[in-house]
Symmetry: C2
Subunit: 376 residues, 2 copies
Amino acid sequence: MPSSSLDYSKEPSRPQYELIVRKETPFNAEPRIQNLVEHYITPEKYMFVRSHGPVPTHLDESHIITVQGLADAKQFSVQQLKTQFEKAHVMMAMQCAGNRRDGLHRVKHTKGVIWGAAAVGNTTFAGCRLRDVLHAVGVVSYKNDLHVSFESVEQVITCEETACYGSSIPLCKALDEFGDVLLAYEMNGHTLTHDHGYPIRVVVPGYIGARSVKYLKSITVQDHESTSYFQQRDYKLLPAQVGTEQEAEEYWCKVPAIGEYNVQSFVCHPAHDSDKVVAEGTRLTAQGYALSGGGRSIQRVDVSNDNGDTWQVAELYQPSMSARAWGWCLWTIKNIEYKGYPIVSRAVDSAGNVQQEYPVWNYRGVLNNAWRTVNL
Amino acid sequence: MPSSSLDYSKEPSRPQYELIVRKETPFNAEPRIQNLVEHYITPEKYMFVRSHGPVPTHLDESHIITVQGLADAKQFSVQQLKTQFEKAHVMMAMQCAGNRRDGLHRVKHTKGVIWGAAAVGNTTFAGCRLRDVLHAVGVVSYKNDLHVSFESVEQVITCEETACYGSSIPLCKALDEFGDVLLAYEMNGHTLTHDHGYPIRVVVPGYIGARSVKYLKSITVQDHESTSYFQQRDYKLLPAQVGTEQEAEEYWCKVPAIGEYNVQSFVCHPAHDSDKVVAEGTRLTAQGYALSGGGRSIQRVDVSNDNGDTWQVAELYQPSMSARAWGWCLWTIKNIEYKGYPIVSRAVDSAGNVQQEYPVWNYRGVLNNAWRTVNL
């Protein structure tokens, strides 16, 4: 087996987590859904971990990041990034593209880690601005269709070969003065831990987590997207009729890589699986999260206790710390009667996008944002 | 009647239009839906016109625009804007927030002009960058929560009082180097016509048309949104339970003004009302438009001929002229069988947002993007 060629013997210890492990190697874990609404800023113990290979625990602040492309190549140690560039902060939701994959997987087999609805969290990051670093190496002006490619130290197995994890974002996102893309070295006020990218990671607010490359090794400005498997043949929203690896083969190159994520919400309390222990007629407080990609704020969360026939408007908690809404929204609805149906939520974002009723199934099981949780 | 206090005697003549008039005073008109897919760049004769009052036909290029706010106030004539600032171009869809209001109005009475699905078009604009003008008056740095307010010469009646049309956008959109907000003096390569804002208008790509203020009189940088009726008490997406003017009263201040629009598509050919003259079993070519707000491109358009049971993927035509997809997408599907149901389309944008099945009704009838056209 090719995965045996990767060494998982040096994984960090994880006694502090209160997570459900979805996969041991690479390590993938998410919290219980109820825990997500306990804090607006998700504590690390409740923050999902998404690895694609063994965690490179040997790195420290002497680690060198190469910045190259249109301008002269330059190298910076993490220590230099910390001292030579202004420290910036961003509070942002991080969401895996596969969050809620289980809802699609129940419809039909999907490829990927079967995440529940907790592959999402909301934390603060601190680091230097990618924009400042690009300016420092001479990338100041914008040209259409350029990309910033990130390569990681993280070793992965794809197509039976060993490679480094990689991904890219459009240069216009990287240079956007309101884009808030950081090379982060802190999360929630503390030095990044191994599982979250120590010593340095990219964070791309408003984009799927796959673009926030951990254990960053190089940054390349180029005229094409990253050629990595994870940009080219994964994290894409395939049409519903593509149902096998063979059928996917001809579609990967036709379908764009996902950047921003879609409008999303979920009921965290009562958790869907706890509904059965509540008696019909009980009045309760429902709580959940909502978020949308690209800095779009949540405008409204509708909640239904009668299978979608009627909807009530939830109270939102969504403090803004930036020009764009990178953080998630927590919502609450009090005194709602449990009528025997799962309580469901439907968010509307600032652009008027709304979660659809039924999932649009896709082979990779990404971007599921249906408000109805299908039980087959 | 208060509207009698506005003078509609100086309206421009409109012999060139091939439009269906939805309202005479103020003049509101849209093309036949089939015409929209004849050209990727919508000719003016097929471009919808949305007026809020009498067209100020007395203006010319000596018209003065005042720019004021945080910096010193300055004044520019249209002629000066043309000669003192670089000329920039944008190709963009312009869509009224009320496009497809008829679909909501069939569910329940809405307030507003009953537009069909052709209150949208795709044109090119040329003008100076709002960003450059703001820089020229000293607004260069960004602060959170500032807004750029636009006031028009156009006289309107709101709440039984005469006022000037006005609106605002966030300063971060105005200053965004990829935001492409122009003070435009040309459309489709020709000087703006009276109905489209001569001598100068704002165009805000990716935002509802209401923010692209015509007959611009002043630009103000301020710490709050425009206080205009059209920013504060209109063009808002109210919750479904708000069904009357009285109920709306308490909601206007709680609901954000719409900026970006949501993911949208529509079948233009065959037009829904022409379906009845096609025999079941006929194979035909279906065509339509698709677009999304905020520069999000269209990733896929699914088309169904069997009431949404199965979907086929359409071919897309969506040339990019900019870092962000401001233009619309025209789509085609060949050799699709007419099975007695209206052919419907469902677009997915680059953030994975998808049109929902049923309309979420709202009192003002805005942002209807349901793929199902409800006939009651």
